[in-house]
């Protein structure tokens, strides 16, 4: 593979993905052919205009109706050149459209006027897409409203994002750092600020980022409410006082509970912690010991959040 360029050339931005070197080579191949033919045509035009311009004593007109060998030559040479360009462009295009099987997948949603991303881990982000370097990433994209288009100039990739269907795109980033994402299908008022960034990280940084608590800074009770929904506590523990499979959370904190096999316990932080991590330790009378453990599922902070949440339900 050709090494990718870290700085932008006269015409093209930096080469940030494995697609870029091939696209750029073809771009400059066409560029130099174009410059050659343009200079040739203009030089001949200027030369003819100077030499054959109308003036007293100028060269005499000589009518020439056609010249078949010449005409065949200037038809066939461009034909060969465009055939080469077609095949080269086709090859690069197919490479862009066939993602490696092991590609990391990210779902992308375009909507007026932001880009939303969801990793397969469930991690969501908007206006920023974090990916590891040198790793194939496949984007599965759809739109919530009108047509948008996902364009990363540094990666040389672009694909319309259409409502009612999926379109896909893949890349393998080669340059660390931030790369601009533009919307390139006109979508109304804020089309020009429907921007995002691809943040390319080392695999270690990416792992740290992935593992980092996305709910940092969220009030504990709010975090607990989110965990209550996300971890399906809701399916067994009501918050309105009705008994489902387990005791309701309503007014639970500070209550005194009768336990199966005798004894009572006052519901405090310690009891709630134990019941979430080791549910079978103390079973409230009238309920079956069916709750699974949440040890390893909830982080320490999320556990605190759930307890704080329960305290708020009175």
């Amino acid at each position: 593979m050709e090494p990718s360029s870290r700085t932008d050339s006269l015409f093209l931005p930096i080469q940030g993905s494995t697609h870029a070197p091939d696209v750029d080579s073809l771009y400059y191949f066409i560029h130099y052919i174009s410059v050659f033919f343009f200079v040739l045509i203009m030089a001949m035009m200027v030369y003819f205009v100077v030499v054959y311009r109308r003036r007293p004593g100028g060269p005499k007109i000589r009518q020439i109706s056609h010249n078949t060998p010449l005409e065949v030559t200037w038809s066939v040479i461009p034909l060969i050149l465009v055939a080469v360009i077609f095949l080269w462009g086709f090859r690069g295009f197919m490479d862009m459209h066939i993602a490696p099987r092991n590609a990391m997948e990210v779902h992308v949603t375009g909507k007026k006027w932001l880009w939303a991303f969801e990793h397969t881990s469930g991690r969501k982000e908007s206006a920023e897409l974090h990916v590891p370097v040198n790793t194939p990433v496949r984007l599965i994209m759809s739109s919530d409203d009108v047509i948008h288009s996902f364009f990363v100039p540094n990666f040389r990739i672009k694909q319309d994002v259409v409502p009612g269907r999926y379109t896909t795109l893949w890349f393998q980033a080669t340059q660390l750092g931030e790369h601009h994402v533009f919307c390139t299908e006109y979508c109304g008022k804020d089309h020009s600020v429907m921007a995002a960034k691809v943040v390319v990280m080392t695999p270690e940084e990416f792992k740290t980022w992935s593992d980092k608590d996305p709910d940092e800074g969220m009030p504990l009770a709010e975090l607990g409410a989110k965990m209550y929904q996300k971890n399906a506590c809701v399916s067994c523990h009501s918050i309105d006082g009705s008994a489902v499979i387990g005791p309701t959370f309503k007014g639970l904190f500070g209550r005194s509970e009768q336990l199966t096999g005798g004894g009572t316990v006052v519901v405090d932080e310690q009891y709630l912690r134990e019941s979430i991590l080791e549910p079978q330790a103390k079973i409230v009378q009238g309920y079956q010991p069916v709750m699974p453990t949440y040890k390893g599922t909830l982080t320490e902070r999320q556990l605190n959040g759930v307890i704080e949440y329960i305290k708020t339900i009175k």
Binding site: M45, Y52, P56, I61, R165, Y186
Partner: protein
């Protein structure tokens, strides 16, 4: 050195039927507003079309200047984002539907085609007048769309944006729908005229290349425009009646709209450029006193472009989500279109060889065309290549490419043709020195405006952006300054053309020493063009050798 302008020795000419100046011409044969509104004379209809399309050009140009001004800095300079979006939509829609499509065929073509052919008028004069009236009705709808809030969809009306925006889409779509019929009527008329009204001796291969180009254009107008009409009608049905054709929320397919739209609009690119190529053939032959090198190749390449132009619409959809197979086929076909265009450029170049080149203003425009159209064509090769297209499409690179073809090609050819035939149409010469200076001003301004757009486009600047990253600003500043230079050029041109109507030197019948039939009658021509029906005995560019 050359033969006299009206020499009977010129084998391509008709009998020398030049009228003296001061006789009755089409301009003074009758008077009063009714004599214009109800005229069936193709020349008067052509002149009225010319006035309309020049007015449309000024309006579309004003929007262009306004939006370039807004883009001078990344932030707000003049208007808000919604207004900017309307500006570029109106610039595009007016320039495409009201100016560039009718510019050469309906204005210059209407005037010149019957005379160049040796006919007294077009085959269907009433249909011709009807086409003008329909154009006027379409223009009224477009004006109504503008004053009732404008449109913000872009001239392409892509769904589902166009079915969900609250702006005046329906009046503008109606305008394009109606204007299409005006275009179809012109096409029908030209094909019938060329087939049925050629005088004795005027075989197809003795026709001037401008007529071949108009013939090819007419084929496209008749075959492609109805597809636009039905597409816009379906768009209206979706907006009015909520029938889901393109909107996925109602079970439609938005990409179907793009296929329908470009099935018309790509051939429409050839409606725009082919007549321009025809003018360039006339100019280069007339101002070199040379027969066109490879006349048949140039004539037939117009037909080839007209037909191949129908097979490449999918190259507008490489990133739309169409299948890879379709994109590959369309890329391949797109490259086949490059060949007839290349052939034309090489033939024009070869025509200059061993000619006697007179650098009057129309010829300067023809040379400017060769420069600009060559860049427009070569940058099309970048866009035809699939992998490179992915990076460049929907950026300023595309904007620059089609302006090099549409403005650097068609508009420059139109202006060249306007100067070339100005003496014939008005009976007055334009002022030559100032006209040459203006040609140079427009050439410089054009390249400053649009060459910079290739660079910022390749660097990733997306099109249709109200604000942009600061790193693109230097290119935007240059482009905006260039637009002022172009504007200045056209302003001076407007002044000297209006001046020449009354004060310009009286034009002789054949100021350029050209051989085609329009120069064998007086300037301006009499009511039915020729005193006697011409008899043609040779080709249109049979200039003699010098010994």
């Amino acid at each position: 050195m050359n033969k006299g302008p009206t020499s009977s020795a010129a084998p391509g000419s008709a009998e020398p039927v030049v009228h003296g100046q001061g006789g009755l011409s089409y301009l003074n044969a009758s008077h009063g507003i009714k004599s214009w509104i109800f005229t069936l004379d193709h020349k008067r209809i052509g002149v009225m079309y010319l006035v309309f399309v020049l007015f449309a050009f000024m309006m579309g140009g004003t929007f262009a200047l306004l939006l370039r001004l807004e883009l001078l800095t990344p932030g707000r300079d003049l208007v808000d984002a919604d207004t900017y979006n309307k500006f570029f939509t109106l610039h595009g829609a007016i320039m495409v539907f009201l100016f560039i499509i009718p510019s050469i065929p309906a204005a210059l073509g209407n005037f010149i085609l019957p005379i160049q052919l040796g006919a007294a008028d077009v085959a269907f004069p009433r249909l011709n007048l009807a086409s003008l009236y329909i154009y006027a009705v379409g223009a009224i709808f477009a004006l109504y769309a503008m004053i009732s809030g404008g449109v913000d969809t872009g001239w392409t009306f892509y769904t589902p944006y166009s079915t969900s925006t609250s702006t005046a889409v329906v009046p503008m779509v109606m305008a394009a729908f109606i204007l299409g019929f005006s275009s179809i009527f012109t096409g029908i008329n030209f094909i019938a005229t060329i087939h049925k009204l050629r005088p004795a001796g005027m075989t197809m291969f003795r026709m001037p290349l401008f007529l071949w180009a108009l013939y090819a254009t007419s084929i496209i107008q008749i075959l492609a425009t109805p597809v636009l009409a039905i597409t816009l009608l379906l768009l209206g049905v979706e907006r009015w009646l909520g029938v889901g054709i393109f909107d996925p929320a109602m079970g439609g397919d938005p990409i179907l709209f793009q296929h329908f739209f470009w099935f018309y609009s790509h051939p429409a690119v050839y409606i725009m450029i082919l007549p321009g190529m025809g003018i360039i053939s006339e100019l280069i032959a007339a101002f070199s006193h040379k027969t066109i090198f490879g006349y048949r190749a140039v004539a037939l390449s117009s037909i080839a472009l007209a037909l191949l132009g129908f097979l490449v619409w999918g190259h507008h959809l490489f990133v739309s989500g169409q299948s890879e197979f379709a994109s590959t086929v369309f890329s391949f076909l797109t490259f086949t279109v490059a060949i007839p265009s290349a052939i034309k450029v090489f033939n024009w170049l070869a025509t200059l060889y061993r000619g006697s080149i007179m650098l009057a203003t129309p010829m300067l425009y023809a040379l400017a065309f060769l420069f600009l159209f060559t860049i427009g064509g070569l940058t099309g090769v970048f866009l035809g290549a699939l992998s490179v297209n992915i990076h460049l499409t929907d950026t300023y690179f595309v904007v620059a490419h089609f302006h090099y073809v549409m403005m650097g090609g068609t508009v420059i050819a139109f202006v060249g043709g306007l100067h070339y035939w100005w003496p014939k149409m008005t009976g007055r010469m334009y002022p030559e020195p100032i006209a040459k200076v203006v040609c140079a001003i427009i050439f410089v301004g054009f390249n400053l405006t649009f060459f910079t757009q290739f660079i910022m486009g390749a660097k990733g600047m997306p099109r249709r952006y109200y604000s942009y990253l600061p790193e693109y600003q230097p290119w935007h500043v240059m482009s905006t300054v260039g637009s002022w230079i172009i504007g200045l050029g056209f302003l001076i041109m407007l002044v000297y053309l209006l001046w020449s109507l009354r004060r310009g030197p009286i034009a002789p019948a054949n100021p350029w020493g050209a051989l085609t039939l329009e120069w064998q009658t007086s300037s301006p021509p009499p009511l039915e063009n020729f005193k006697h029906t011409p008899v043609v005995s040779g080709g249109p560019y049979d200039f003699p050798d010098e010994t």
